[in-house]
């Protein structure tokens, strides 16, 4: 079983279903559009801001504001890529064709990850440049310190979100269950945990809280986060690794 055969097969699978196109299109459109809107609003608010708020003003991070919603489409993409196999019964056909379950799962994840990385980077760069255009004179330049890192990091963040979703879906199998857990978690629970003082110290180690640090260029005053941008992305990477290992172990063990 040559790995290239399985990768080619998974590429055919992913490009031949409509959900790939609509989820990834939504990622781009939602992230960029919402980022532009919030950038435009922030520009208008700048004049009424106090000194501290102005000092913390992070035009790069603001242009990524749409990711909080856009990542949900990325989650749907990641979940569907894996759980479609189960909800349709395709998994039995797939595993009969590729009985090496590790090769099957990781080829699928590799193909979907490559696609997510491409779309993530396109989204991130588009959100940055269009967001900065909205910000007018308050904009950041791509050559400013830390900005290019943040923009590339935004693409990596989106990619890791997709990978984490694939791992969770591989563990849970059901698309509804996976989405029912991931969507509220990333949209609500993680934000709550990260912003309430009592849980902040734990909350900032959650995958999205830690990972989104990479998109920050201006550190808020008095910020005591114990990791830097790459450290945060690393923490997110560990979450992803755990989810993928969990998914692999269960797939290996379970009856199809």
């Amino acid at each position: 079983m040559a790995a290239t055969q399985v990768v080619r097969s998974e590429w055919t699978k992913i490009r031949s279903v409509a959900s790939t196109v609509w989820t990834l299109s939504l990622v781009v459109v939602v992230t960029v559009a919402l980022g532009m809107l919030i950038s435009a609003l922030s520009k208008n608010e700048f004049d009424s801001m106090g000194g501290r708020e102005r000092a913390e003003f992070d035009p790069t991070f603001i242009s990524f504001a749409g990711m909080s919603l856009g990542q949900l489409a990325m989650i749907v993409f990641g979940v569907l890529v894996v759980s479609n196999e189960y909800s349709t019964g395709m998994i039995r056909t797939s595993l009969a064709a590729v009985p090496q379950r590790g090769a099957f799962l990781f080829s699928k994840i590799a193909v979907a990850t490559a696609l997510a990385l491409l779309v993530g980077l396109v989204t991130s760069f588009a959100a940055f440049f269009l967001g900065q255009a909205m910000l007018g004179e308050h904009r950041a330049e791509i050559g400013d310190p830390g900005v290019l890192r943040a923009v590339i990091g935004g693409g990596l963040y989106m990619t890791l979100i997709a990978m984490f979703s694939m791992g969770v879906a591989a563990m849970l199998r059901s698309p509804m269950l996976s989405l029912g857990i991931l969507m509220p978690f990333f949209f609500l629970i993680s934000n709550v945990l990260g912003n309430v003082d009592a849980t902040k110290k734990v909350g900032r180690f959650l995958p999205d809280q830690a990972g989104s640090k990479i998109m920050q260029v201006v550190t808020p005053i008095g910020d005591d986060t114990p990791y830097g941008p790459w450290g945060g992305l690393g923490i997110m990477g560990l979450w992803v690794l755990a989810a993928l290992i969990g998914g692999y172990v269960l797939l290996k063990k379970r009856d199809a």
Binding site: Q5, S9, K13, S16, A18, G89, L95, A96
Partner: protein, 328 residues
Amino acid sequence: MRRSSVAGMIELEGLTKRYGEKVAVNNLSFTVRPGVVTGFLGPNGAGKSTTMRMILGLDHPTAGDVRIDGKRYHQLKDPLTYIGALLEAKAWHGGRTAYNHLLCLAQSNGIPGSRVREVLETVGLTAVARKKTKGFSMGMGQRLGIAAALLGDPRILMFDEPVNGLDPEGIHWIRTLMKSLAAQGRTVFVSSHLMSEMALTAEHLVVIGQGRLLADTSMADFIERNSRSYVRVRSPQRERLLDVLRQAGIVAVESGDGLLEVDGGKAELIGELAAQHRITLHELSPRQASLEEAFMRLTAESVEYHAHSGTSPEPPPRQQWGEGWKRG
């Protein structure tokens, strides 16, 4: 310990699958051979599908072993070129076209794309190759599943209940296909819960009930042994007739309504005896039990056996069938 394997063989050795307390497949050992259609018969829930999933490495056996051409399934390089399977009516993504479904399977096993068009032609789906499969009828779905099974031009084909839900034309098509595949020297292993269906297609028969092997025999042998012939006799002088038969060493069983049943084709003998003793007969008819009845009787035994035995039971008396097929 392992027998030398001929290409195209499926060998099960003590194959067992337990789900908690429930035993779905219980110590199954048999071999499926090339060149004939082997019917895999059992009532619904007998463990046929579980067995087939274990053959494909989809379900992990609790105990025992199954080999394809002497190898475990996951050891097969490009398994679709060894064994093709139609597992259930629908095992694909409905949003994908028939062509793309087959293409991704072909690519995973290094099968050229031209073969996709060939099998689509074989099963008669060329016209709808670029249509999404969710719009397919039951019969088209079955044809797509068979196209996937044929894709790797495998020596072994396995079909799980292939005629379920098909119209008569589709059933006829599948029967003809299975026979022609076997005639090409391939191994064809097909499950069904209908004896009548098997009688029309299978040359060899493996019967299971409650996950146990009940018979492993040629179809001809099964028919010979199980199509019990008997003679039905009705007479107003029943008691006298019974006496006469007993004296002649013939065992007659009363089957209610004043009817007698005598095993074997002894109609002439009984008629002559009755005439000699001037006994009036109202009916003397040679009869044959149907295969369906034989199958029901066979599987009913396994059901009863389970229900009545408290301790771990011995295997049911399957030895009476198909001794010739047991490994020497």
